[in-house]
Symmetry: C2
Subunit: 343 residues, 2 copies
Amino acid sequence: MRVTGKNLSTVFVIFLAVRPACGRVGEDLLDRAGRIFKPLAADMPSPANPITPEKIRLGKALFYERRISLDGTVSCWKCHPISLYGADGLRTAIGNGCKVNPRNSPTIFNAAGQIAQHWVGNRRDVEDQARQSVTGPGSFNMPGYQSVEKALEGIPGYVNLFRKAFPDAARPVTIENFAKAIGAFERTLVTPSAFDAYLKGDRTALGDAEKRGLAAFLDTGCAGCHAGAYVGGGSYQKFGVIAPYWKYTKSEPVDVGRFDVTKQESDRYVFKVPPLRNVDRTAPYFHDGSVSRLEEAVWIMAKVQLGKDPEVRSVRDIHSFLESLTGKIPDDALKVPVLPGRE
Amino acid sequence: MRVTGKNLSTVFVIFLAVRPACGRVGEDLLDRAGRIFKPLAADMPSPANPITPEKIRLGKALFYERRISLDGTVSCWKCHPISLYGADGLRTAIGNGCKVNPRNSPTIFNAAGQIAQHWVGNRRDVEDQARQSVTGPGSFNMPGYQSVEKALEGIPGYVNLFRKAFPDAARPVTIENFAKAIGAFERTLVTPSAFDAYLKGDRTALGDAEKRGLAAFLDTGCAGCHAGAYVGGGSYQKFGVIAPYWKYTKSEPVDVGRFDVTKQESDRYVFKVPPLRNVDRTAPYFHDGSVSRLEEAVWIMAKVQLGKDPEVRSVRDIHSFLESLTGKIPDDALKVPVLPGRE
């Protein structure tokens, strides 16, 4: 049966109570997906930090810059290597002086459009994340913002790049402008994939397994949280709605999540819903990287969030769908900047 | 006076004893330089490891690969970031688990053509360096070559890349082929500069200060060791011919150099003569990174190797000449490879 505009609402009313998770019965999969997801835009703009070529150029150099870390080995790249889709492949990040961080490095791709940064939303946006990381003990561990500004002012090429990126600033080399430049670069890091082509109307962009997986993803209820352009990243949710997450992830220690930030009891075990763009390339999974295989992560999510026990075949199809979210890294982001010298 | 072919040998005989370090008096600076240096070739081939596009492709991926290090943070890039001209900017390298290495990371650019690798020549060639680094405690610190092979075999994309690079191998994923692939990539890393254009006959490629610096470099005697295509890298020499090096570099502890390798008394304080290509961009200087400014390094070399005390102006000119050795990183080396995923 094919639903037309005419009979759609009748059908909807009749069947909604019976199969609420399955969308409008007989509704075209693409139409159904179109109500829930959005293709990626060309970039992720911010009124507070307009993207300019000069900021991107500076920001990309700063992204690779390790001479602003206490031990001289940490740059943004360390935890967000572009060669590995912007995540480091570790359970939890390792920063300056080999300090182990409490949570898994989220990828920087498609990050700037999310509700907030990091797993518990303790970084407002990508600019805030860049700014705070330079003094974070588990990141760059610099003694203060002034020490970063001084280090950058000591490299003449950077003074020029800052001047070009912030032509109206009386003093261009500031931590605020550092954060804005990196933010502007990160706001360009979108990775359109086969799924975007599909959402834009190309029904051949997904194969059969991917389409079955998309349907299973929707039917299982995953899109209740993993929706929008980033297939997540737009809300906070308790991890372990049905059962404690750590019984399945074997997490040790148990992380209380956003409670750390707000001290609200309602935020206990609450985390930002991670976006699923490039999820196939950014193992291991969850806030503590406790699970290394994607299909196990999918099954755990169905179990502890939705109280479901999906069949192996269904999980495999969902995996296929998730692979269709692996996108193309922008050419410019794949060009290594040559950093300015000290003399 | 301008020396022509006709009167050259007479002039040479008369003046050689008087100013032996200065070359043939009145000899054209370019001719003089041409007898000592060579322009860089297109690559640095090895009969034992022919360079192929497939090996380069694999080798570049492996160069960025950190999933073959014990703590998951070390790739070749860590100590040889291409964004910083292939050296890490640290006094001495920091490897797996933050282990501090005894010596400064040499740049990988123009390295493959040198007499040996590392400061004391304890790595035969770039292939040997790549192979030994994966088990070196201060580098990747993997428990053995087998563990590296196993890790790579666990990433299906690599199995394909190895097969393409070594089509005749019964078992392509071996540590030997790992080393060959990285070696093939590194054998392409040449950085031709203004100095090469000059050596090839373009007299306008160097400015006045650079030419004065080249003349001072030759007159001072630097080219006694720093010669050839790499302006060094072709021989071993005692560091501190005239005076102990550590009195000037303030090195602590004192490094006995190649004596560590050969246990020959004649190798005490002997190091590979570092190549000076891109030296302006690869601070800090010397085997222990003890000196951070290039002009200080130049002055120390004149003092402890040649017993000279060059004027500030002369050191500055030599600095200008050394800047002309800063070359262009090959476009392909400036493209980040996207590494294969695990699943």
